[in-house]
Amino acid sequence: MKAFRVTSAALAALMMSTALASAGPATVSGPGADPACFTPVAEDTAYFQWEARPGPYKIALVNGFIANDWRVQMIAVAKAYAEQPDVAANIEEFKVISVGEDIAAQIAAANNFIDQGFDAIIINANNTAAFGSVVRKANDANVVVLSFDNVIDDPNQIAINVNQKGLGESAAEFLLENSDADPISLLHVRGPAGQPVDIARNEGFMEVLAASGRQYEVTDVVGNWAPGDSQKVTADAIAAGGQFDGVYVQGGSQGAATALLDGGHPAVPISGETENAFRQLCNAEGLLCQSGGTGPAQSSVTIKTAIAALQGEVIPASIALPTSISYAPFAEGVDVFPELPGSFFAGNNFEACNIGFTAEEIAAQTGENN
């Protein structure tokens, strides 16, 4: 009780002191720079402008969860982009770290980069709601914060959004379209529990099913967006007597497809991510596949945005990235790349942003910290 009294007394004293004024970007009116690349999410999206500062800049990418192919490629692409000559000219130091799933560790890592005087920090958030204090501290220190993939909820930073909910919606639409079963029984191979992208995709998926007017039954398993995990949980679901009319796998799609084939389950429609191996498998086995996502290269769009913001350009607070969805059979050299590893995610080119990579550029990089 004493502890409580002391704390509340201190609290009251603190509240009587002046409220902290938060610095940060100026909110300005649009249009912003390069609207083809930095497309605002909505018409009423706010625009930010930081004071231009001389380059080259120190930029850090603070990743959380790492243990899947997508994240590894996302980091590889970020490094490849930072090494492209016209980008490298603007970058003094590009630092990448992955801290695992602990939210406190990710917050601490972001805080350390702010304290080390980095100009911009890019975050793929373990928990979208948890970065309020980081954004506040960064804005006070005049550090540009950007988030992508799992974007931060706080409005005082730049969010690079993929319409994750839309991906869940189109998966549901595809599976409903390609099965007459009523009630329709679906297997949903989900991502790590609680990850914002998983939540958004599931929401879109379930909303379309509910709105379809059809009877449906969804079996959820957790495949962690990793081929091995997805294969195991799909095999388990089939082994447990599951008969499905369609499968939606959020990631590690080739694993789920392999389990389906190996388990002797009828070849039902599959909606998956953009893994090269998944597309190859769909082509080879003649499966009915939908393959959609926004490539890991969104990390490079985020770096481009960071540099523009540091140069004093007007940038939307919330940027919409295009999603690409293709269907089997996939065209070789366009949608599927037999010469590249199976874990490669297609969709690394953002033409509107003048961002593109050769497979060699990405293959030359790793997911390690630097």
Binding site: V6, T7, A10, V99, D102, A104, N111, G117, A129
Partner: protein, 341 residues
Amino acid sequence: MNAPTKAIGSAPTARRSGPRFRLTAAQRGILLAAGIFAVMFAVYGWKQSVGLTPNVINTAANKGALLALVAMAQTLPILTRGLDLSVGAVFVLANCLASSVVVGDPMMTGVGIVVVLIAGLLCGALNGVIIVYGRLQPLIVTLATGAIFFGVSLAIRPQPGGSVNFEFADFMTRSTYAVPHSVILLVMVVVLVWIPYRRSVLGRAAFAIGSAEQAAYMSGVPIERAKVLAYALSGFLAAIGGLLLTALTYSGAAKITIANDYTLNSIGAVVIGGTSLFGGVGSAIGSIFGAFVMRTVGDLLIVFDINPVLQPLFVGIVLLVAVSIGSLRILRIKNKLDLYR
């Protein structure tokens, strides 16, 4: 920050062993963990590009204090030769609850804090009551209640979100004159909770139970009350950790990976801190340093640019080495027969 806790730790020794200076096993554990931590943190500071500025220390303290509180919570059941696999879940539950109730004006915030602490206390007491009066294994009971507590967390906060009184959150996570408030919180918990507990009848009873439960029973030690109190206080400390997490994240999130991570790391921290998993020997103060050692391992991996995929491997190796050093049990055994108990 080492000085006050060391002084506290060595006070009873002087009384017990008279003029001859001899450390108890628990105090040796504290010193060893503090030493390992000091060396590791110094290396971290040396490799950090800006050195150990007040901000860097504050960041490390905030992160370490979270695990330290959960590790202290884990220490109490372990001292009674039990184990609490639900500490992580109580920690997460307190976080989810706090993100709903620790809001509004100072009065409401204060009430919210009390509500969260009482909730933690009740969770812990529930564990204790089931273990004592149900005569069940702590491992199984807390595995089950941990799942229940996590379920409640999910019900409170199905998706990450919520908010917290900003002034409270800021106050808990910043530092004054380079002293992180989270460290002050830890010292307060040691002074106001751990030391009084350690010196109370029920606290000493917990140690007696851990050493030899039957002997304690024969000596008329209040076994049942001591065990229930140990688990209840464990829940209370985990809830303080949950409050600090809320202050750090301005929000609540029910994530099973967080609960599991903190539970397992807390056991590691307890062992590094010199507390015996066989019960009866140890200190919550050692667990604090154990927790900071565990956290600094993560920081070192970052400053040395270790491949993140290999990080669990390194954490495992460090844990194994630290545990081996800390629990050279044979050296502290008084009677060879103890090895086979």
